[in-house]
């Protein structure tokens, strides 16, 4: 079968000049990824799950975004810090990578023939290519320049915080992380920073029996940035996977999460809060959760605040496979439109092949509740403050998905500050 020319053109444009490391175990994995990618090409607007978001925006030849030199989310949190600048590991700015119960190595240095990550790298991504293709993720597996390989064997006593900084306004970054949380182990992974003019990430997470993986990330500040992230997870029995993303500003953000629940009694939660101001803002969350085991629970909770012509997209699917009885699946996506120009495009889907399941989904778009606004103002709260209280109240249900209160509070303050900066 030959691919449409448009897909091939996009692909050659996007990978022109990218370096392709071809040695050791990585050479094999990357070679396979490149084959997958070449067979798919890059998506075009007609493809399913790309109708609301133009993939061409992720292929822009020379992305440019302002550099944010200031502090980033989770600065105050006691964590093992790993810093990348323009996608290059910064040893000076990073902490020592040793930590009890956690083994951290770098993709760029893992060049030996044997590595535990060989079982994961590109593997979860490959599984996630079906039934919907995710060519940008294959591109990430093929061309990533670095990333972290994190193996968790015990209970990590503090989070690992990955900080992406940029020093150039044309930085174009491609990182790939693998996380293996072994039986009964536990870790919290944080991500923050303005990242790059264009950031492409793939994170593959294998959560073994009874293990817990918490992921909280903040995408913020830089207005012009283009971000395209993928999280692929395989969740075993009695394991817990939780991922939260706060997304602030950005002309193009596409966050994909592909979660496979393969063991009984497991839990998978994904949630997000995003805020955007202006017709340049485009924020897309695309989630695909597969239930392939019994008595598992999944939740998707997404809230978007949109103003001055901003666009929010949510595409979320729950697939319940035959035999996945007693599945409890919940999905909600809501937008708060602060003016008539902003838009929220949602595609909630349920596909169920088991008979004894409980699944629900809901999607709404609404404006600020004028009655509540008047009530607050009648008590002396100035209009803008009242509005920001109501916006934060709207986001609260998503923020409540974060288990660790200090992390939730950090993001809540950031969102509040954003509202202050974008008043009126």
């Amino acid at each position: 079968m030959t691919l449409p020319q448009a897909k091939l053109d996009q692909l050659s444009a996007r990978i022109a000049g990218l370096h392709f490391p071809s040695t050791g175990w990585q050479g094999k994995a990357r070679g396979a990824a490149l084959e997958r990618l070449s067979a798919m090409g890059l998506p075009v607007r007609r493809d399913e799950y790309w109708r609301y978001t133009d993939p061409a925006k992720l292929v822009a030849p020379q992305p440019q975004a302002e550099v944010w030199g200031g502090e980033v989310a989770f600065d105050e949190i006691d964590a093992l810090k790993v810093v990348f600048v323009d996608g290059m590991f910064d040893a000076e700015a990073s902490d020592d990578l040793t930590m009890s119960g956690v083994e951290i190595s770098r993709l760029a240095e893992a060049v030996t023939d044997l590595h535990w990550a060989a079982e994961i790298y590109g593997e979860l991504e490959t599984k996630g290519q079906y039934p919907a293709q995710r060519p940008f993720a294959a591109l990430g597996s093929a061309f990533a320049t670095d990333g972290l390989l994190i193996r968790v064997t015990g209970k990590a006593d503090r989070p690992v915080a990955v900080i992406y900084r940029s020093s150039s306004n044309t930085s174009d970054v491609n990182l790939h992380h693998c996380v293996k949380v072994e039986e009964g182990a536990e870790i919290t992974l944080l991500e923050s920073g303005d990242a790059a003019a264009r950031l492409l990430t793939v994170m593959e997470v294998d959560v073994a029996k009874g293990a817990r993986f918490h992921h909280v990330r903040a995408q913020g500040r830089s207005h012009q940035r283009i971000v395209n992230t993928h999280v692929f997870a395989r969740i075993a029995e009695e394991a817990t996977f939780k991922s939260f993303t706060a997304s602030i500003n950005g002309v193009m953000t596409r966050n994909e999460a592909v979660l496979d629940i393969v063991g009984d009694d497991a839990v998978a939660h994904v949630a997000g809060a995003s805020v955007g101001d202006g017709s340049d803002f485009h924020n897309d969350d695309t989630v695909f959760i597969t239930h392939a085991a019994e008595r598992c629970e999944s939740r998707q909770v997404y809230k978007k605040v949109l103003k001055n012509g901003a666009t929010g997209v949510f595409q979320g699917k729950i697939l319940v496979k035959p035999g996945a009885q007693k599945t409890d699946g919940y999905q909600i996506s809501q937008s708060l439109l602060l003016d008539g120009d902003s838009q929220f495009l949602a595609k909630p889907e349920l596909e169920i092949y088991a008979d004894d399941v409980k699944c629900s989904h809901g999607s709404t778009s609404g404006a600020i509740d004028e009655t509540a606004l008047f009530y607050l103002r009648s008590r002396g709260v100035p209009e803008r403050r009242a509005q920001s209280l109501l916006v934060l109240a709207f986001l609260a249900e998503a923020l409540a998905e974060i288990e660790e209160e200090a992390l939730a509070e950090d993001l809540r303050l950031r969102l509040e500050n954003w509202l202050d900066r974008h008043e009126g």
Binding site: F374, L376, R377, S378, R379, G380
Partner: protein, 252 residues
């Protein structure tokens, strides 16, 4: 304190006239009651005074201690000392009651050039006022009015009034939906605030509330106007004979 002069109000979106020349003056230290049939415009009057959107003032004026009310934003009216206890208090999911009360109190203080209250002092103040209204700690932790019973919502209105210490208090059917005990609590809350420098405008259907909060003056409102004004005995007359007699007498 509050002076309303020939106030005419219509709906902004429709050609529907609701208030047709309201004249009313409430002096400092006094309690005035407004009674009147449903739909006569009592709530509209309270909303227009507090600055709700959706109404258009076509004529007349309203002043609070000489200041032109109708020109101000709702929050400015609040800071100037106006308070409306809502007929239907609003539920605000996601905003904690404590956060709400503290934000409101501090915003008003700030608007008046006063210092903000410290977290500790605020807690003490709220606990004390809440206790006298039998509002338990659990209610304070919940989002504003969410899951509150009708009576709890009304008590929460009075709590806000007690905290904010406004000069001009308008109570819109605060008695509706209250059982005898709650009515007593609410009335005690109101009476505790009675003061020479403070005035009340109590909108109600029933004599019952006025047994507890004794008004100095009673007005009857009908069809967008104050049609009769008298002493407390006017409320008793309404209680006994309804509005029909008064209205036919006015129309005659």
């Amino acid at each position: 304190m509050l002076k309303i002069n020939n106030l005419h109000v219509k709906l902004e979106e429709e050609e529907k006239v609701i208030l047709r020349g309201v004249d009313l003056e409430v002096e400092a230290g006094k309690v005035h009651a407004i009674m009147g049939p449903n739909g006569s415009g009592k709530s509209t009057l309270s909303y227009v005074l507090s600055g709700r959107d959706g109404y258009e003032v076509t004529d007349g004026s309203a002043t609070l201690e000489g200041e032109e009310l109708l020109e101000m934003e709702p929050e400015e009216r609040a800071a100037a000392g106006l308070f409306l206890a809502f007929q239907y208090p609003v539920e605000i999911p996601g905003v904690g009651n404590m956060t709400f009360l503290r934000t409101a109190l501090n915003a008003q203080r700030k608007a008046r050039g006063e210092e903000e209250i410290s977290a500790g002092d605020f807690l003490k103040l709220v606990r004390e006022k809440a206790a006298s209204l039998k509002i338990d700690a659990d209610m304070m932790k919940r989002p504003v009015n969410v899951g509150f019973s009708g009576g709890e919502k009304k008590r929460n209105e009075i709590l806000q009034m007690a905290l904010l210490e406004p000069k001009m208090c308008i109570l819109d059917e605060t008695d509706s939906g209250l059982d005898v005990d709650a009515m007593k609590l609410v009335s005690e809350g109101v009476n505790a605030l009675r003061d020479e420098g403070r005035a009340f405008l109590v909108i109600t259907h029933y004599q019952r509330l006025l047994d507890h909060i004794r008004p100095d003056v009673v007005h009857i409102m009908a069809n967008g106007r104050i049609v009769k004004t008298g002493g407390p005995e006017l409320a008793l007359e309404v209680e006994k004979n309804g509005y029909a007699d008064i209205l036919s007498e006015v129309e005659a």
